[in-house]
Amino acid sequence: MRLRHYIIVTLLTTAILVPAGYAYVYWNKSGPGAGLYSREWNPDPVHAYWDPDRFYKPVQTVQGEFKGEECIACHTSVTPGIVNDWRASRHANPGPGKQTVYCSACHGSNHQALHMPTPKICAGCHENRFTQFMDEKRYGFPGHALAMERAVDAKHFADKPKAEVASCLQCHSVATKCDSCHTRHRFSAAEARRPEACITCHSGPPHPDDDTYFASAHGKRYLADAAKQDWNKPLAKGNYTTPTCAYCHMNQGQHQVADKTIWKFGLQEVNPNTSANEVRRRAWVKLCSDCHDAKWSETKLKELDRERKDAWGKLYKAEDTLKDLRARDLLHPGAGQRPPYPMDLMEGLFPHARIGYLDGQASAFYNVSPIERDYFEMWYFANLGAYKGAAHGDSQSVARWHKTMDASLAAIEAEAHRLRARGEAEKKALGKRADPGQHWLDGEYTRYNRENN
């Protein structure tokens, strides 16, 4: 009797809570913005071009239905550059037996209801590539297909003024339009095969893919051979003298980049020897065997594992130092004495300084104490620089960034020592840690940020 009672109560509670949970998430996602915090922000007008499916609204300036040469006739004088570019594309020169792909095929023909092409529209013809691209989602992040969702769900993205974070979407729009790599209006596959197609986004402090690749033996060979290489060839064995970004990460033109990732973004330590990662390791060795022998590739992958273990040894030491300061309330300002961690309902009740990946420190690079920022830079820039160097075969970057990590760790430990001594002196003299000051909570940008997202 009692057992049945428990079962019924459990089932009833589940029957109410699960749909309520779904309804809550659905409600959260139905605001003017996008993603989990869509009710918390309004898009900047420019977002229309980065996520057109969600934000683009046609203009009403020109009336009428146009297609084919009618569009070209007008746009040759209005926007000659894109017409020139299109004329040189395969869309304009489709080859015998195939139809020309005019503007209207992708943008529509009613000038007051034009749309920006999304992957779904490209899928009308390029279905196979679209399916591969969307299939990437099952491997999780990092990857291209989930890039927009993950960007708008990032707490700092939701929190910051939208014009400030517009540049995020410039790269993360790789999920919402195809011209990140196949630039408009040429849409050339041959160009998308070349490393330069990737580097507008894959460059800069947290992912120096460009610098590390071009400094590697592969990259040097690329720079020497690129002009002689026929880039119309498929990304397959024997067609290239040296691998490029796409040769390894999109081999055979597979439109997904996530199936072989072992170390993911490098922001977390992973176990590189799980059964799933062993499968990925074999996939790498097989790919490298287009040129190298298996033993050699296995050794290189093990070197990467060792580099990562070494990096994480350093990062954990710094994290432990910070966690110790947090436990003793020596971070200055501490949580609660600075603007709250973004988008966190509980933050007001239980202020909490975020340390490490699982704690959400990726969104805690502003409004934190200097020592936390020092660790953020060690983790996000030096660590990732070393990782990319090791993965792409650029030993100088590995050495350089490990040296930086060593220096950061030493600086963090020295600063922690100073904060402890300072805290003790204050406790003795004042009975508590000194007030960090109102300037952490106020100021022109700080106010603007609080009021605008």
């Binding site: 203009v59 550059g81 517009a166 630039t183 330069e196 460009d210 204050e426 000051g437 300037h439």
Partner: protein, 289 residues
């Protein structure tokens, strides 16, 4: 003799002097020329070009970028040479690497690089004649020789400079519009202005905070604050360059999060000044002293 006739005679006189100076009227003379020789002839043939150049930073600043710097010292290939990115990069890479690097990694720059030597720079800088704009396509659009019309020295703190910067942004828009739709140009430009405005807010917040420390901070503490503020100005400039060159990396990683770091470090330094003052003299000394 009417005034109009007088003008005509004067013009004829000028022509009579100019033609022998420049050799054949239609054919550009062969040989090598100094900058003075270029000006001597072209001031009569294209007075506007020379006047525009004279009004620009290329003529007013040191080192000068004169005719020969960009066009070379002979007529053959002089237009192609000056239109190419190499002509600009030769100097600007040394002046400010961020300017060159932000363009090189932008979509415009990447495609220009991929076109490589297929791009011959033979066409005028207008009408979407190039698949992507090189430096000169935007900054010397339609052979505009006053580069300051479409770019201006930027001081993050000076409001008049921001007005000049707005004017430069407006001046460049027709070049964008030869490939991009009018609304796209307006929205990108507006969003960029807002993004730059936010960078200036961060900078002003930091500056005001530093200003409030004058009087209470020691000279060493003030010097450290000023130094961080100088770094911050560079990062704010990166945002502006990133906006202009459409480089996500300079808008973001070299820009806004870097400014966030500068701002919190300045706040941290100010907290240290206050902490030192809050403690009695003996306990207030830095633990490192």
């Amino acid at each position: 003799m009417s005034a109009a006739m007088g003008t005509r005679i004067l013009a004829l006189g000028a022509l009579l002097i100019a033609v022998p100076l420049c050799g054949a009227a239609e054919k550009a003379p062969v040989g090598t020329f100094s900058n003075a020789a270029c000006i001597n002839c072209h001031v009569q043939r294209q007075p506007q070009v020379v006047a525009d150049w004279r009004a620009s930073d290329h003529a007013r600043k040191t080192p000068k970028a004169d005719c020969v710097t960009c066009h070379g010292n002979r007529h053959a290939g002089s237009l192609e040479r000056a239109r190419s990115d190499d002509a600009c990069i030769a100097c600007h890479e040394k002046l400010n690497r961020a300017v060159v690097h932000s363009y090189a990694t932008s979509k415009h720059g990447v495609i220009t690089r991929l076109e490589g030597n297929r791009r011959t720079w033979t066409k005028p800088l207008t009408h979407g004649n190039y698949r992507t704009p090189g430096c000169a396509y935007c900054h010397l659009h339609r052979a505009e020789h006053n580069v300051n019309r479409a770019v201006t020295a930027w001081d993050a703190f000076a409001d008049p400079a921001e007005t000049a910067s707005d004017a430069a942004r407006d001046a460049i828009q027709p070049a964008c519009g030869e490939c991009h739709a009018p609304r796209y140009v307006t929205e990108q430009s507006g969003s960029g202005a807002r993004m730059t405005g936010i960078a200036r807010m961060k900078l002003r917040e930091a500056r005001d905070l530093v200003d409030r420390q004058r009087g209470s901070a020691t000279p060493e503490e003030l010097a450290a604050l000023e130094q961080q503020l100088a770094v911050m100005r560079e990062h704010a400039r990166n945002v502006r360059i990133g906006v202009g060159h459409q480089s996500p990396d300079y808008q973001w990683w070299h820009g806004h999060p870097a400014l966030d770091g500068d701002l919190l470090r300045i706040k941290g330094q100010v907290s240290e000044v206050e902490r030192r003052r809050a403690l009695p003299a003996a306990a207030g000394a830095s633990p490192r002293d």
